[in-house]
Each structure stands twice: as structure tokens, then as C-alpha cells.
């Protein structure tokens, strides 16, 4: 009998662990936390403070003289953070990198202005819950490829379907601005060589023609032009993807010359070369990665760790992202990694919370722990930017407590038990 029960239990846990956790449908809970270290996301830390949520919103974050009811949750110095925000990711669009059938990131063709990532965003992706248990609660699911990749959307990571997941639909159009000199593989020498792209001007003209024609057209049957039009009304941002100094200057100059104001530059080490220009242009920056090798053999060994700090110190609104999505759960640690290269811990935190929220245009609701904003946060036993102490106890999206255990934890528990017998 006992054996049978065990087997049944095992079967249950097996079937449960084979699925991604179900979204929490229950209404947002009202809770009050005390003795919390609140990392607001705007650079401030409120130590031993109070934090209260009601009806999916933050109602208190700070110090309040309100009598205790006894229902308060004493965090005993644990830390509350705003949910981390992963920008420019293929999360939900990619399942297994090497299996083509599971990839929905890049549509064929060069100009895909009308393509929308949101409809391909798979809320049941196994990757999504692995983001959550490290504190990532929001993401910008973004198409890739071609000269104009299509439209991204901002999603929250606990939903039954893409419709429910959507936080900001079609928030931005993504442009891959080419570079005149680009690395290409040369099979005769089996090395990567920097080669001139003879079609550079032609490609740039293709991008320009799309925007110029869209500006000129007054509603048409052309889906591509129609998809561009909201850009001119300020309803959709333009993300320029470029990691080349000259291309950065050319692309920003072009878009500003046609009056596009909401510009974001998604870039890498090239930013360092044109930091003054970027600052002058007022464009904000999404850094693709902190963990990359220096571009040239003579670059500083620390160059990619130190770059985020240089951008911040220059006064550029900058967010840190993490390429792909398989390892993006390490986003917080890449932010933490910049601290010993000149960032303050709270600046580093802003680069994955309030800064991306501002860049995405969702900072009215998300990105920091301030009363009135969405109760999208998590509680960590220790410093969440350091993997030694990033131990997440609970997490909430819009006030709903979400499931943190995934198949990975279930497998861990199963084998831990197996070996402890």
C-alpha cells in the first residue's frame, strides 16, 4: 500500500514536472512586508523599510507610522527588488537552438517591418520559468534577422497565452543597420576577415526607402509601410542594432533627420568609440552583453566589463541585456559584474530595472518599487546581483505570487532524494 502511494505520488510529481508551471490565476494578494531592504531600482536602498502591495499595486515602500495588524510578514533583512527586465531577447521564440523546428526568431527576407514577435511568443516555453527563478519578470521578445526584423513586444512572464502576457504590444521596430566594413568568413584561408560590404549603400538605401515611403504614404494596402507609420506618431520606437562606430553615427543621424525621436541603440563595444556622439544625440542604449571577449587583441582585458560604467558615467540612459535566451537568467550577474569596474551596486541594478523600463516606455508602471507602480517584484535572501546570495524566496507579477519551481527544480529534488536514500 505504502509502495503504491509512493508510486502514485511519484507519477504525480513526474507529470507535474513535465510541464511548465501554470500561471497563477488568483486575484492579486494584499500583503505587507516589514524589515525589508528595498532596492528601489532608481539608485536608492531603503533599509529596514516597509513594503505593502494591494490590488496589484505597490501601496507602500519606505517608512510609515502605521500600527501593525499582526499580518505583516517580517522579512528580517531580506531584500526586495523590482522584477528584472530582459530587453532584446528571443525568449519565447526559441526553444532548442539546434532544432530548426523550434526557432521562430528570424523571418526570411530583408524588410519585415510588419512581422510581430508577440504572436509567436510561446508562453509555455521551458525557458521562461528559468528566467523567473532568477528574478527576470518582464521581457521584450524581439525578432531578429534581415535589415528590418519586425516588431517586438513587452511581455510579463506569467501568462496563459501571449494575449495575456502582453504588457506593451508592438513597442518597437527593430532595424539592423549594416556596416560598410564587416567581418566575413573567408573559406580559402579559413579565417574571419574584415571585408568591405559592397552592398552597404544599397542596403542602407533599402532601409531609408522604407521609412521615407512610409512617411509619404497616407494609409495604403502595403503592410510594411503601415507598420512603419506609427513610428512617426511616436507610437512605436525604433531600435537600431549596430555594433560599428560609423554605422551608429550614420543611422542615428538618419533617423533623427527624418524626425524619429524615440530611438534606442542596441550595441556592443563599438559604443565606446562614439560615446560622445551618442551622448550628444540623446539616444538611449541597450548593451547586448557584458560577457564578451574584447574585439581586438590590444583592447583592455576588462573592456566589456567596464563599458556599461562608461556609458552611465557619460550620462547615457543604458540598459544591460543578455544575448540569446538560454543563459539570460544570468542577467543580474552580468550587472553585478560591472560593480568592481566602477558601477555602484544600485546603478548596476538600475541597468536591469528602471533603465530598461524607461527605454521600453513602461516606467510609469514597472521598473522601480514606488507606490502606485505595479507590484512586480521578488524577495531574495541576499544580494540578488551576486550568485552566492541570489536566493529568491518568492516573486510577484502585478501582485500575483508566481510559481518559482520548474522542471529543473523538480529534477533536482527527485535526484537529491534518490541519492539521499
Amino acid at each position: 500500500m505504502i509502495k503504491m502511494i509512493t508510486t502514485t505520488l511519484m507519477l504525480c510529481s513526474l507529470s507535474a514536472s513535465a510541464l511548465t508551471p501554470a500561471p497563477n490565476d488568483s486575484a492579486p494578494v494584499d500583503k505587507v512586508f516589514i524589515n525589508a531592504n528595498i532596492h528601489v531600482g532608481n539608485g536608492e536602498v531603503l533599509q529596514n523599510a516597509q513594503f505593502a502591495v494591494a490590488d496589484g499595486k505597490i501601496t507602500r515602500a519606505g517608512y510609515y507610522k502605521i500600527p501593525y495588524t499582526g499580518d505583516e510578514i517580517d522579512l528580517k533583512g531580506a531584500h526586495i527588488y523590482p522584477g528584472f527586465i530582459l530587453t532584446n531577447t528571443n525568449l519565447g521564440l526559441t526553444e532548442v537552438d539546434s532544432v530548426k523546428a523550434t526557432l521562430d526568431t528570424a523571418e526570411t527576407g530583408q524588410i519585415n517591418a510588419n512581422v510581430r514577435s508577440l504572436v509567436a511568443y510561446n508562453t509555455d516555453s521551458e525557458r521562461i520559468p528559468t528566467m523567473r527563478f532568477n528574478g527576470i519578470l518582464l521581457a521584450q521578445t524581439t525578432p531578429a534577422g534581415g535589415l528590418v526584423s519586425g516588431n517586438s513586444s513587452v511581455v510579463q512572464l506569467d501568462a496563459w497565452n501571449w494575449e495575456d502576457a502582453a504588457v506593451k504590444v508592438d513597442d518597437a521596430l527593430h532595424i539592423n543597420w549594416p556596416a560598410e566594413w564587416a567581418k566575413r568568413f573567408d573559406f580559402s584561408t579559413f579565417t574571419m576577415q574584415l571585408k568591405q560590404d559592397e552592398k552597404y549603400a544599397e542596403k542602407v538605401d533599402q532601409i531609408k526607402a522604407l521609412f521615407n515611403d512610409a512617411m509619404a504614404s497616407s494609409g495604403s494596402n502595403n503592410l510594411k509601410l503601415n507598420a512603419v507609420k506609427p513610428v512617426f506618431k511616436g507610437e512605436k520606437k525604433v531600435y537600431i542594432h549596430s555594433n560599428n562606430p560609423k554605422s551608429i553615427i550614420e543611422s542615428i543621424n538618419y533617423f533623427q533627420s527624418i524626425g524619429v525621436k524615440d530611438l534606442v541603440l542596441v550595441t556592443g563595444q563599438a559604443a565606446e568609440k562614439v560615446i560622445e556622439f551618442i551622448k550628444g544625440s540623446g539616444v538611449s542604449v541597450v548593451l547586448q552583453s557584458v560577457h564578451t571577449l574584447p574585439q581586438l587583441s590590444d583592447d583592455s582585458v576588462d573592456t566589456t566589463y567596464a563599458l556599461p560604467v562608461k556609458l552611465v558615467n557619460a550620462g547615457i540612459l543604458t540598459a544591460i541585456s543578455y544575448p540569446g535566451s538560454m543563459s539570460s537568467r544570468n542577467l543580474a550577474f552580468t550587472a553585478g559584474n560591472t560593480v568592481s569596474y566602477g558601477n555602484t551596486p544600485e546603478q548596476a541594478l538600475s541597468m536591469i530595472t528602471l533603465n530598461p523600463a524607461k527605454i521600453l516606455g513602461i516606467d510609469q508602471t514597472y521598473g522601480s518599487l514606488e507606490p502606485g507602480k505595479s507590484a512586480t517584484f521578488f524577495i531574495s535572501e541576499g544580494d540578488a546581483l551576486d550568485m552566492r546570495t541570489n536566493v529568491i524566496k518568492s516573486a510577484y507579477i502585478d501582485g500575483r505570487e508566481i510559481e518559482l519551481n520548474t522542471r529543473q527544480q523538480a529534477l533536482y529534488q527527485r535526484y537529491k532524494e534518490k541519492y539521499s536514500q
Binding site: 526553444e95 532548442v96 537552438d97 539546434s98 530548426k100 521551458e126 525557458r127 566594413w181 567581418k183 568568413f185 573559406f187 580559402s188 579559413f190 579565417t191 574571419m192 576577415q193 574584415l194 571585408k195 568591405q196 560599428n244 562606430p245 560609423k246 553615427i249 563599438a270 568609440k273 562614439v274 560577457h291 564578451t292 571577449l293 574584447p294 574585439q295 581586438l296 587583441s297 590590444d298 583592455s300 582585458v301 576588462d302 535566451s325 538560454m326 543563459s327 537568467r329 544570468n330 550577474f333 553585478g336 559584474n337 560593480v339 568592481s340 546581483l385 551576486d386 550568485m387 552566492r388 541570489n390 529543473q408 527544480q409 529534477l411 533536482y412 535526484y415 537529491k416 534518490k418 541519492y419
Partner: protein
């Protein structure tokens, strides 16, 4: 036959000398025999017998194709046809050591495709070697045909003979040495089989193996062993092996693409008790110490790269220091080789314009410090010596009459080749000048004018000797008659004369005379005198040849580290306020308040954490190549492709890494042999990185890579995990049989051995046997539990142990079985989802394996991630709750155990190597940085000096950029390539390109 007649006729008609050396004795002559045997005397010439000996005012006596004497000019025989060569210089003709004149073009390299069906066997029909990159039977002489057009170009550059071979394949067959005369082949060929030729490039071979440098080396080794075996066996015919044996006494010339390959050539030569002459790619300057130590003879192209084009300051984002520095130093290559006592021959640059600019390039090399005698030797006596030829390369009695006639000193800028003589046949290049070039003085009464006469092609030009001289000088010849005009403002004087014996005889009534007062070459020498007494200023060469080679490393290996928090990895745990004394690279004492010797260097460790260095169990940095494709690639050795100049060594030191296992890739069930290295930045030879006395390791691999899951068209066995098992069982069974065959043979008496053919020595079987006999240890790329379990069973059936499963993302599912087998696990901290077989990977893997008693390590497989393995180790605290000390062991002591190095590294213990890292913080913290990293007590990375070296690099780079912008001439487009960074699955060394290749997007 028709063509031969034509050629003979041409030679008679076109050449000014009628020597008839070109007659083929066996040929039919249509007409009467016209054999003259005339003796020709070239008189009053300056004859350079060889690089070091010159006779002034000499007479060279020639008959047919030979030099029959050299004498003082007054001793000319009566019966000679005398030609006055007053003022002319005669040099031995140059020998071109890297030609393919007269040979058909080799087939093109087939386009590379990773996804196409494999080509496992040779596609060449006939009884040739089973690897089609072995083309040893190719006999260039048999297909050689006289190529007048190319001959003429070569002669114009001063070459009189050429060594030609087909530039295709790893063993390229034999070359033919020919006179560059437009003769029938029967007479043109000096030596039909002059040398054996080799390379590391499989060329037009369509067969997959080898794709890597270490594969090419392994193929050379095996083929030489096969050739030896072939002599005794009577089972088969292989024309290539037969040809190798037949020509084994010939000089061996190998083409190398870089200095690393040059060293490799020396290494395999030594293994087989032979020597290669190495045709380099002219970048030996990047590692002169190691190259000169080999004492190899080199064949060096005179390459002077164009300056990198840098239009503006944003462009330099694309330009790597190494490209700029190479551009600066390359023109000094020949001079640097000479200074390092390297013996070398010179050849023109391989660019299409290389031959045309050869003399210019030679003079540039001379200006950059190459001495005249060395330059001349490199074109004459050295090539002759390489080929063992005694009848070419110098001027002497009995030698071929092959020489060049110039109108001045060879290396003077304005000197032209007048004639090139090839075995007695003279070919006019610019022609013997009517008037000798030089400085002349024209005097008429009290007036004297001084000007230079030089030639542009065959056209005479005059220019004032003194720059301040405002007169304009002109010479206009008409046949042998010349007008010389001197123009001064309005005034214009004309002098008319006839040329006789290269002197002017005035024909007008002006009563003037004009005499040569000096050679042209005297003038630049005078100008240069000051600088010439000094040494030519050679550019500084970083060591290693990399920006981070600019700093000097203090080699002191005795140091006291005071007052640090010491993570011992021993029973002592973490010791606060502790001193560690390092003496001669070893840990001598660990304790509190140790006294410091008077001369010992001290490092203050207050507030810092001291640990043993990180050891990366799975790395592919510092390698020139990673994957070969044979199903059993155990014969390839990563030691052959270690690159001590890879900047990733320095970058890894900056992340606290001190040692690594450099592994073969995972394209095959049995991969290549590992190289275990310490990250000693700045050593000269690849061998200097290898860990002395380390055990041998080898890569195995299972799963998707091995069964070629990304290639839809793959036909290579195995295509399933079922087949993978059978590959192992079959290989091990064959290895046992191989062992028995040898042991049976070795048991034979010496007389019986003589009558028995020894088994074929097979490097694949040798390495496999080492595994079975536990002399070489397996690190096996693996992911899913079924395959892990399978390999342990196979190993147990063959009575050996798997040493390590690497990657092993499902190790947590079979950790108990792993413990039982005694195998370790070296895993990623949290990778998953990149392919199907890692779908069930969990970040708790390391903790679960570790807690189940498996020796567990965390590795990188990435030159980027290896820089922060301390952070990867720390993830096991988050995932699975390991203690900090256990977490730290995942990247230090545990990998040391897995690599059998824990007796000398992996913890801070008296007697162990001082491979130590001083961290700014708890090493597991995201906020920690390596402050100092030492290997064997030497500080190779010091963050305190980083700002200084970075500004030094920036300054040097700015200097080079300015120099490049300032330099005239053609500019090369950007060439910079990012350093290759290999991972397990790497083919190209560039992750994004590999992805495109694997997915079939790039073919």
C-alpha cells in the same frame, strides 16, 4: 618533336651567343650540323664569384654551357670571341627555390561544406595512397614543359634556374630543377628529381580527413611510418609510398604558413631523424628566438605588406595592433633572420607582382639591414647548398655559365640588369649600355659641369649632381651619335659626340671632354654614411608578438605574500592573516608572521584573498585548430597546435586561470590527444607551455556531435547512439588484436624477425591501446545518461576506466553509477537548451554529482567564460547549496585531481607549485577581481600594472597608426581578424560562422 625543333630554332635565332648548348644530341637535325664550340671572353668586368669574393677587371671565359676560366684581363686567349664588358658587374645567376614554372596548374581547392555527405575515402583512381592529400608519386619533371613567357620574366629578375613543384597536397612529390633557358626540356632540366615537397595544407583533396593542422601532421607521421612498412610488405602496391622510399634521400622542403608551422616542421623532422628546409610565409620575425633555435634553413619570400589603410580615427576601431605591428616589422624580416644567424634563401613575394618588384624588394631589404653578402648568398650559394648542387650558384671554372650582367652594383637603386646568361646563352634584359651610368664631368675650358647619367629601361637620362645646380642637362642619342645640351636660363650649349668603347669622342669644334668620375652608387652611400656606421634601427618586437607582449615580465619566482586570507583547499580551510612564502616557483611555507628574506620580493595581501590558480579542465584557447574528422582521431595531438602567442592566455590570467587542458573537439567518438598547459605568457616555444611530466589525456565524445545530428546529409558511421557503442567495441577489439600481433612479432627470435614482415605501425591503434592500458586517460564529451552509462560499461568490459565525463549535463541522473565506476564529472554551471540532448540539463548538476561523491569540476569550453570561472563555481552555492570551500574546489583542486595534477597544484600546500591568485574579494563573489596571477611563482598578470601597459599599448598603436597614415604607396584594406575562439564543436574558430555552417546557411 615539332615543338622541340621550333625551340631549337628560336634559341639560335634569338640569342646573341651561338653556343648550341641547346642541341639535343639524339634529335634529328634538318640540315647540316653547326656545332661551333666558340670560346667567349667577357673582359674588363667586375666579377662577383660568390657572396664574398669579387675580382675587379676580370675576364670570364665561356664555352658552350660552362665557364671554363676566370682570369685577369690581359690573359685573354687568342682564339676567343672577345666582348668588352668594361664597367659591367657579373653576378652568379639566382636560383628560384619556390617556382612552378613549366608545370600545369593544380586543381582548385574544393569548396568547403560542413553539411554535405562526407567523403571518407580518396577519390583518386589508381594504386595511389589511401589519403588523396598524399601525392608523393607526383614527379614534376615528367610533366615539365618549357614556358618561355615565364622564363623571360624570371630572367628579367635575375633568376637563371628554378626549382619547380606542384603546390598541391600535403606530400607534393618531387620537384624539377631547370635552367631558365628556352630550350627543349631534355636540355633545360638540370635535375629531374631535386627535392621532396611537403605542406600542412591538403589542397585540392576532396577527402575530408585531415581538416586540421594537427591532422595534417598526423598524416605525415603515419605516411612515413607506412612507407617504412611498405618496404617489407608484399600485400599491396601504393605508388606514393614507393615514391617516398625511392626519393627519401632528397632534400625535404615544406611550406609553412606561419612560424608555428615552421616549428612544427622541425618537431616532426626530429621525430623521424630528418630535417626540413622550410618555405616560410615571411613572418618568422614574430618568434625569432624559437625559429633560430631550430637551426633550420628557411626559404623566405621578400614580402613587404602594404600599410593598413586608416582613413580616420573611427577606422582604427577595425585595425588590430598585430596587423599594424606586422606591417612595421615585416620589411625587416630578412635582416632580422640574418642577425639571428638563420640560414635562408630568398624568393620573390608570392603576390602576382612579386617577381616584377623582386629587385626593388631586395634593395629595400638591404636598406633595412640585410647585408649585400647575405642577400647574394640567399639567392645563390644557399639555394645551391640546399639542393646539393655544385654547378650552380657561383661563378667558377666548370660551373654552368649562368650569371647576370649589371651596369652597377646589384643593390644600388638605379642599377639595371643588362643581360641574363643561362648556361651559356645570353638573354638581353635592358642591354649593355652604350654609355656607363655614373657621375660624369664635362669640361670645356674653365667651365665644368657635373651630372649623373642613368637609365630608365634603355633610355639615358641626365640630372645635375648638385641639387643647387640650376643648369638643365639633356642627352639625346641617335644611334651611336649623341647631343648633350646644357641649358642655363636663356643660354643653351650643345655638344655633339660619337660613342666608342663606352666613351664619348667629341665631333664638334668645341674642344670639350666628358669623363666618368664615379659610380652612381657612390652618391647615396655618401649621404647615408652617417646612418650606415650605426646599425640600422630595427623596430622593437613584442614578445609574444601581441600588444600584451609589450610589457616586461619580472621572472623572479621567489616572493612573500603577506597577511592574506588564504583559501588552502586543504584541511586547514580558510586561514586569515596568513603569509605564503614562495621560493623558486614552489610554495615553501604557509603560516603567520613569516620572516622575509632580505632580498625577497614582498606582496602585501592585506584585505585580499589568496587561492591556488583556477584550472580549466576543458579549454580550447591557445590552439591553432581544434577539430579533425576521422571517426577515430586518436592519432592527432593538440600538442602539435599549441599557440603560445594567443592573447587569450593573457586574458585568462586576468581571470585567475593558471592551467588548462586543451582539448580536441567533439566531432568524433575518439578525438585527439590533449595538451595540458600552464598559462605562462611570453614563452617562446609551444613546448614551454606544456606541463612537465603530466599524464597523457585524450578526448572522447558521445551524442549529437558524433552522430552528426546537424548534418542532414551525413553518411558517416555512426549516425545513432547504437552505432557509437559499436565504434568503441570494434576499435578496442582491434586494438587488442593489434597489441597481440606486435607482441607475437616481438617474441620472435631476431633471425625469425628478419623473415617476417612486422605488423604495420598504426598511430591510431597505438593511442587507442594507451587508453586500454591506462597509459592515457579519457575525458569524454557527453550529455545524456544513456550514453554515459554505455561508455562506462564498454570501458569495464575492456578493463579500463573512463577518467572524466566532460559537459556531462545529465551526470546527475547517473551520479551513483559514476561514483561506482570511479569517473569524475566536469560540467558547465548552467548551460542548457542549445541542443536537444541538453534539454534536461539542470544547474544543480554540479552539486548533485559532487554530493554523490563524484569528483566534480566546472569547466568553460569557452575562452570568454574561462575568464570568470570563479563566478561559475559560485553558482553551485545558489544551485544546490554547496559550501563555499567545496564550490571553490570545483575550479581548482577537483580539476587538478581529474587531470592527475593534484600532487603539484590545486591547493595551497607546502611543496606544490606556486600557481596562485590574489583576489580583491572573496573569489566566489561577483565583485571579485584577480589582482595578481602567478604561475610557478612568476607574476604574469598584475592588475596594478594594467593601466600602465594599456597606455603603453595605446601609445604604440597611435605611433603605428600615424606611421601607417604617413607612409606613401598603396594601402591595404583592413585585414584585422578577431582572434579565433574555439569551442568543442568549432570548425572555423568563430562561433557565429560555425552556427551558419552547421545550419547550412553558409556553405
Amino acid at each position: 618533336m615539332k615543338m622541340k625543333l621550333k625551340l631549337t630554332a628560336w634559341a639560335v635565332f634569338a640569342c646573341s651567343q651561338i653556343s648550341h648548348a641547346s642541341d639535343v644530341p639524339t634529335a634529328v637535325i634538318n640540315g647540316n650540323i653547326d656545332q661551333r664550340n666558340t670560346i667567349i671572353a667577357l673582359t674588363h668586368a667586375t666579377v662577383h664569384l660568390n657572396a664574398n669574393k669579387t675580382i675587379e677587371d676580370a675576364t670570364l671565359l665561356l664555352q658552350n654551357d660552362r665557364i671554363i676560366g676566370i682570369s685577369q684581363s690581359d690573359k685573354t686567349p687568342n682564339n676567343a670571341h672577345i666582348k668588352d664588358y668594361t664597367g659591367m658587374h657579373i653576378y652568379p645567376g639566382f636560383v628560384h627555390m619556390d617556382s612552378s614554372v613549366g608545370l600545369p596548374e593544380p586543381d582548385k581547392k574544393p569548396p568547403f561544406s560542413w553539411t554535405k555527405a562526407e567523403t571518407l575515402n580518396s577519390t583518386i583512381p589508381g594504386a595511389y595512397n589511401s589519403n588523396e592529400a598524399i601525392k608523393a608519386a607526383y614527379d614534376a619533371a615528367k610533366v615539365y614543359t618549357t614556358d618561355e613567357k615565364t622564363n623571360a620574366k624570371l630572367r628579367a629578375a635575375g633568376f637563371t634556374s628554378a626549382l619547380s613543384y606542384r603546390k598541391d597536397g600535403i606530400m607534393r612529390g618531387t620537384s624539377v630543377l631547370t635552367h631558365l633557358a628556352d630550350w627543349p626540356e631534355e636540355k633545360s632540366i638540370i635535375t629531374a628529381q631535386a627535392a621532396q615537397h611537403y605542406s600542412f595544407d591538403k589542397g585540392s583533396s576532396k577527402q575530408d580527413y585531415p581538416v586540421s593542422l594537427m591532422g595534417a601532421v598526423a598524416l605525415i607521421r603515419q605516411t612515413w611510418l607506412d612507407a617504412k612498412w611498405y618496404q617489407q610488405q608484399n600485400e599491396m602496391i601504393d605508388f606514393d609510398l614507393a615514391a617516398i622510399n625511392k626519393t627519401t634521400q632528397l632534400p625535404k622542403i615544406i611550406t609553412s604558413e606561419n612560424w608555428q608551422q615552421s616549428l612544427l616542421a622541425d618537431k616532426i623532422g626530429n621525430e623521424f631523424d630528418t630535417r626540413f628546409v622550410v618555405k616560410t610565409n615571411a613572418n618568422s620575425y614574430q618568434n625569432l628566438t624559437a625559429i633560430s633555435q631550430t637551426k633550420q634553413t628557411l626559404i623566405v619570400p621578400l614580402t613587404t605588406p602594404d600599410a593598413p589603410a586608416i582613413h580616420d580615427e573611427l577606422d582604427d576601431w577595425n585595425v588590430d595592433f598585430n596587423d599594424l605591428k606586422s606591417w612595421e616589422v615585416a620589411p625587416f624580416n630578412a635582416a632580422l633572420l640574418e642577425q639571428h644567424d638563420v640560414k635562408f634563401a630568398l624568393i620573390p613575394s608570392s603576390s602576382p607582382k612579386g617577381l616584377g618588384s623582386f629587385l626593388k624588394d631586395l634593395r629595400k631589404a638591404h636598406k633595412n639591414g640585410l647585408t649585400e653578402s647575405s642577400a647574394l648568398a640567399a639567392l645563390t650559394t644557399v639555394p645551391a647548398a640546399i639542393l646539393g648542387q655544385t654547378e650552380i650558384g657561383s661563378i667558377g671554372k666548370g660551373q654552368f655559365a649562368s650569371f647576370i650582367v649589371t651596369d652597377g652594383s646589384l643593390l644600388s637603386e638605379k642599377t639595371q640588369i643588362a643581360e641574363t646568361w643561362v648556361a651559356g646563352t645570353a638573354y638581353t634584359i635592358n642591354g649593355i649600355p652604350d654609355l656607363l651610368p655614373g657621375q660624369y664631368e664635362l669640361s670645356k675650358g674653365e667651365k665644368t659641369y657635373q651630372f649623373e647619367l642613368n637609365y630608365e629601361g634603355s633610355k639615358m637620362k641626365l640630372s645635375a649632381t648638385d641639387e643647387a645646380d640650376e643648369n638643365k642637362y639633356k642627352i639625346s642619342p641617335a644611334g651611336n651619335f649623341v647631343n648633350i645640351t646644357v641649358e642655363h636660363g636663356e643660354q643653351k650649349d650643345t655638344y655633339f659626340a660619337v660613342i666608342k668603347d663606352r666613351q664619348l669622342m667629341p665631333l664638334d669644334d668645341n674642344d670639350w671632354q666628358m669623363n666618368k668620375v664615379a659610380d652612381l652608387s657612390d652618391k647615396p652611400n655618401e649621404e647615408k654614411k652617417e646612418s650606415e656606421t650605426d646599425e640600422v634601427a630595427l623596430p622593437t618586437i613584442p614578445k609574444p608578438f601581441s600588444a600584451y607582449g609589450l610589457q616586461n615580465i619580472d621572472r623572479n619566482d621567489t616572493v612573500m605574500i603577506k597577511n592574506a586570507t588564504v583559501w588552502t583547499n586543504e584541511d586547514d580551510g580558510i586561514l586569515e592573516n596568513t603569509d605564503v612564502w614562495v621560493q623558486n616557483g614552489r610554495i615553501k611555507k604557509v603560516g603567520k608572521d613569516l620572516s622575509v628574506g632580505n632580498n625577497d620580493k614582498t606582496i602585501d595581501g592585506t584585505g585580499l584573498h589568496l587561492t591556488s590558480g583556477i584550472i580549466d579542465e576543458h579549454a580550447h584557447i591557445a590552439l591553432l585548430s581544434v577539430n579533425d574528422v576521422a571517426v577515430n582521431s586518436s592519432m592527432v595531438r593538440m600538442q602539435d597546435v599549441v599557440n603560445p602567442h594567443d592573447v587569450n592566455i593573457y586574458r585568462n590570467l586576468a581571470g585567475g586561470v593558471t592551467a588548462a587542458q586543451l582539448l580536441h573537439g567533439s566531432a568524433n567518438p575518439i578525438g585527439g590527444q590533449s595538451a595540458l598547459v600552464k598559462l605562462k605568457w611570453g614563452v617562446d616555444r609551444p613546448e614551454d607551455l606544456l606541463i612537465d611530466g603530466a599524464d597523457g589525456f585524450i578526448k572522447f565524445a558521445l551524442g549529437e556531435n558524433v552522430k552528426r545530428s546537424r548534418s542532414t546529409q551525413s553518411i558517416r558511421y555512426p549516425l545513432t547512439r547504437m552505432g557509437v557503442e559499436q565504434v568503441y567495441r570494434d576499435t578496442f577489439t582491434q586494438a587488442k588484436a593489434y597489441e597481440k600481433a606486435w607482441s607475437d612479432y616481438n617474441k620472435l627470435s631476431s633471425s625469425a624477425k628478419k623473415k617476417t614482415t612486422a605488423p604495420r605501425k598504426d598511430l591510431v591503434m597505438d593511442a587507442t591501446l594507451e587508453v586500454l592500458n591506462q597509459q592515457r586517460f579519457v575525458s569524454c564529451h557527453s550529455y545524456v545518461q544513456s550514453e554515459i552509462n554505455m561508455l562506462m560499461h564498454v570501458a569495464e568490459d575492456f578493463n579500463f576506466n573512463i577518467n572524466t565525463f566532460t559537459h556531462i549535463l545529465e551526470g546527475y541522473k547517473v551520479a551513483d553509477k559514476m561514483k561506482q565506476h570511479g569517473v569524475g564529472g566536469s560540467t558547465f554551471a548552467d548551460w542548457w537548451a542549445y541542443k536537444w540532448e541538453v534539454n534536461y540539463a539542470i544547474p544543480y548538476n554540479a552539486s548533485l554529482m559532487n554530493n554523490a561523491g563524484v569528483v566534480t569540476a566546472i569547466n568553460s569550453d569557452s575562452g570568454e567564460m574561462s575568464r570568470r570561472l570563479n563566478q561559475e563555481a559560485a553558482k553551485s552555492i545558489k544551485y544546490g547549496g554547496l559550501s563555499e570551500q567545496d564550490a571553490w574546489k570545483l575550479v581548482t583542486l577537483n580539476p587538478a585531481k581529474l587531470l592527475h595534477l593534484d600532487d603539484q597544484m590545486g591547493s595551497i600546500k607546502v611543496g606544490k607549485d606556486a600557481d596562485l591568485v590574489l583576489w580583491s574579494d572573496n573569489p566566489l563573489s561577483i565583485y571579485a577581481k584577480a589582482e595578481k596571477t602567478m604561475v610557478d611563482g612568476v607574476v604574469y598578470f598584475d592588475r596594478a600594472k594594467q593601466a600602465q601597459i594599456e597606455s603603453q599599448i595605446a601609445e604604440e598603436k597611435q605611433r603605428l597608426i600615424a606611421l601607417s597614415k604617413k607612409s606613401g604607396g598603396k594601402k591595404a584594406p583592413f585585414k584585422s581578424m578577431p582572434a579565433k575562439s574555439f569551442e568543442c564543436e568549432s570548425m572555423t574558430g568563430y562561433h557565429e560562422i560555425d552556427q551558419l555552417i552547421f545550419s547550412g546557411a553558409l556553405q
